[in-house]
């Protein structure tokens, strides 16, 4: 019962390619949406549950991707090992960064995480010897799971969906445990949380690391799936989009963050039609949602419909 939502998602993910076989849209958009869901769900643990903003999450995403790219193309590591190494590096960096950065609050935290994201991005562009500079790195091999090479769109669809469901499952478990409650307590009132014996500094640090690991995992998948990485995929705009997904979903809800990620992916696909208007619409939408539905698109809309429904019933 607890995981009913997860099973439903799994069913939909499995049914889509059967209902629409060989459909480019389903697989490619599905893959892209899945990777974003992993990112959003991970960031939601930090932002939605623990209440700590990060405007630099694309950095961890990129570090995971580049670790895979560099280790496989330059050092011929197997893909899975490269992924594991990437996770280790990102985990360690996040842990080192967490203490000093999470002492900051509000705008200061926003500025610091944003600065971190920019620094990492500059390194990606400038450290040409390792990263290939602005042109990026090509020729990243696909994942190879015990001899099964993930080299078609459909196989990738399957792997990314499995990874996405895994991420959602982990996030649901965390949220619905004492760890998750402690994080929400930190968000609700740090005073009260400490008074109940929660070491708030430690709790924040650990969830920052977990959140970074989700991003690095998504990054590694992204690198192997695309076969190519360049700094453009990990810039400030991407960090802002990640925050947008979480906020759009309504914060502190795993499925909300996932829906936010899917909605933004579809919006991107849809806005392609408008080409030059994409930015304008994206910006206007962000402002409108935050002004009119501050609890997020999904929570806000469901509350609004409930209100309308009640009003209609009273009227009738």
């Amino acid at each position: 019962m607890r995981l009913a939502g997860l099973y439903a998602c799994a069913a939909v993910a499995a049914a889509l390619p059967i209902l629409f076989p060989d459909n480019y849209f389903v697989t490619v958009v599905g893959i892209s949406a899945g990777i974003r869901v992993i990112l959003a769900v991970g960031l939601n643990l930090l932002m939605g549950y623990a209440g700590q903003i990060s405007l630099g999450h694309a950095a961890f995403f990129g570090m995971g991707a580049y670790a895979s790219a560099i280790l496989t193309t330059r050092h011929a590591w197997p893909a899975l090992l490269a992924m594991a190494a990437g996770l280790a590096v990102v985990g360690a960096s996040a842990w080192l960064l967490a203490r000093p950065i999470l002492r900051l609050r509000g705008h200061y935290l926003a500025m610091a995480t944003l600065g971190f994201g920019i620094i990492v991005h500059v390194v990606m562009v400038q450290a040409t010897r390792w990263t290939g500079g602005p042109d990026g790195l090509a020729g990243i091999p696909p994942l190879n799971l015990l001899g099964w090479s993930v080299d078609t769109d459909l196989r990738w669809y399957g792997v990314v969906m499995a990874a996405t469901l895994l991420a959602v499952w982990l996030s649901l478990n965390l949220a619905d445990s004492q760890v998750g409650r402690a994080l929400r307590a930190v968000h609700g009132s740090e005073f009260a949380a400490r008074m109940l014996g929660i070491d708030t500094g430690r709790a924040k640090t650990r969830i920052f690391v977990v959140s970074a690991l989700f991003a690095a995992f998504a990054g590694s998948l992204f690198a192997h799936q695309q076969g190519f990485v360049s700094p453009d995929s990990f810039n400030l705009i991407v960090s802002v989009e990640l925050v947008t997904m979480v906020v759009l979903g309504g914060m502190a809800s795993t499925f909300g963050a996932a829906c936010g990620a899917i909605a933004l992916t579809l919006l991107h696909e849809g806005l392609v039609v408008f080409e030059d208007y994409e930015m304008l619409i994206h910006g206007a939408l962000l402002m409108a949602v935050m002004i009119f539905l501050p609890q997020g698109l999904f929570v806000g809309l469901s509350q609004a419909t409930r209100r309308l429904w009640r009003a209609a019933r009273r009227g009738g």
């Binding site: 982990l170 478990n173 965390l174 445990s177 004492q178 760890v179 998750g180 409650r181 402690a182 929400r184 307590a185 968000h187 609700g188 009132s189 005073f191 009260a192 949380a193 400490r194 008074m195 109940l196 014996g197 929660i198 070491d199 708030t200 650990r206 977990v210 502190a252």
Partner: protein, 268 residues
């Protein structure tokens, strides 16, 4: 030594505050406060606005770093300890301004209160290992028991933010109790309550004491304080004005003057 010294009075006080001073940028909020709270009592701290009552609580909890003096709790010096470590020693509190976790249900709020008894690791929780499920069940039971003690059992699944104010204050008490403290600090529990709720609060405080928890109470509602406390400490301008039983305090003219202010006379 004595762990949960219930009603039998132990010779060593549970809490001993010695010459505690707290200054903020030159302003003395606490100017050498000393008092002792024996285990098992309901001990109230009263005084006019700005007398330093909440400052005292915040110093006890490690929110402020006192300028000098000592706070000993059951043989441990509390000064310099971080708040969560103080909580782990067995002190819990409620807040003057509600610090409820409004985004959680009543039960979840109280389950956070059980945090000190939870041993779940991050990884185990993420994978939802069997021991996590067992612990969840244990914490839930514990929380439900505490809710029952506070007569909140039927509200368990409601979001805490949607309840009336009086119940919210009660949830905060339940949450603090869930930590199984030996000393419970209540910061103005009656503020904003109506008469019926205040009466129920008095019973609840008495029930809490009966479970062996020592209660330190800051409160303005004098009828409540006078009827429920065993001893009182009166603070004024950050110093101790008087200490004693409710009867002693009511007979003390200095207390009346501190509250009503000295008369100022001149021709009008």
């Amino acid at each position: 030594m004595s762990a949960i010294a219930a009603s039998s009075p132990s010779p060593a006080p549970l809490l001993a505050v010695e010459a505690l001073e707290q200054s903020f940028g030159g302003v003395m909020a606490l100017a050498g406060v000393s008092f002792q709270v024996p285990a098992g009592l309901i001990y109230a701290v009263i005084g006019p606005n700005g007398a330093g009552k909440t400052t005292l609580f915040n110093a006890l909890c490690g929110f402020y770093a006192p300028s000098s003096g000592s706070i000993r709790f059951d043989g441990h010096e509390l000064r310099g300890l971080p708040t969560h470590a103080i909580a782990a020693l067995g002190i819990s509190r409620t807040f003057q301004n509600l610090q409820l976790f409004f985004n959680m249900t009543v039960l979840e709020n109280v389950m956070v209160g059980c945090h000190l008894r939870a041993k779940t690791g991050l990884l185990a929780a993420a994978l939802r290992l069997p021991q996590v499920r067992r612990e969840e069940r244990r914490l839930r039971e514990w929380a439900r028991e505490t809710l029952a003690l506070c007569e909140l059992a039927d509200r368990a699944e409601q979001p805490a933010g949607t309840l009336p104010y009086g119940l919210m204050k009660r949830i905060e008490i339940a949450r603090a109790l869930a930590a199984r403290p030996r000393l419970l600090l209540l910061d103005e529990p009656a503020a904003g309550l109506n008469d019926t709720e205040t009466l129920a609060l008095r019973e609840l405080i008495a029930r809490i004491r009966a479970t062996g928890v020592t209660v330190l109470l800051v409160e303005h509602h004098m009828p409540l304080v006078m009827s429920v406390s065993d001893r009182l400490l009166v603070l004024d301008y950050g110093s101790v004005l008087a200490e004693g039983t409710p009867a002693d305090i009511q007979a003390d003219p200095r207390v009346v003057a501190a509250y009503l202010g000295g008369a100022v006379h001149y021709a009008v």
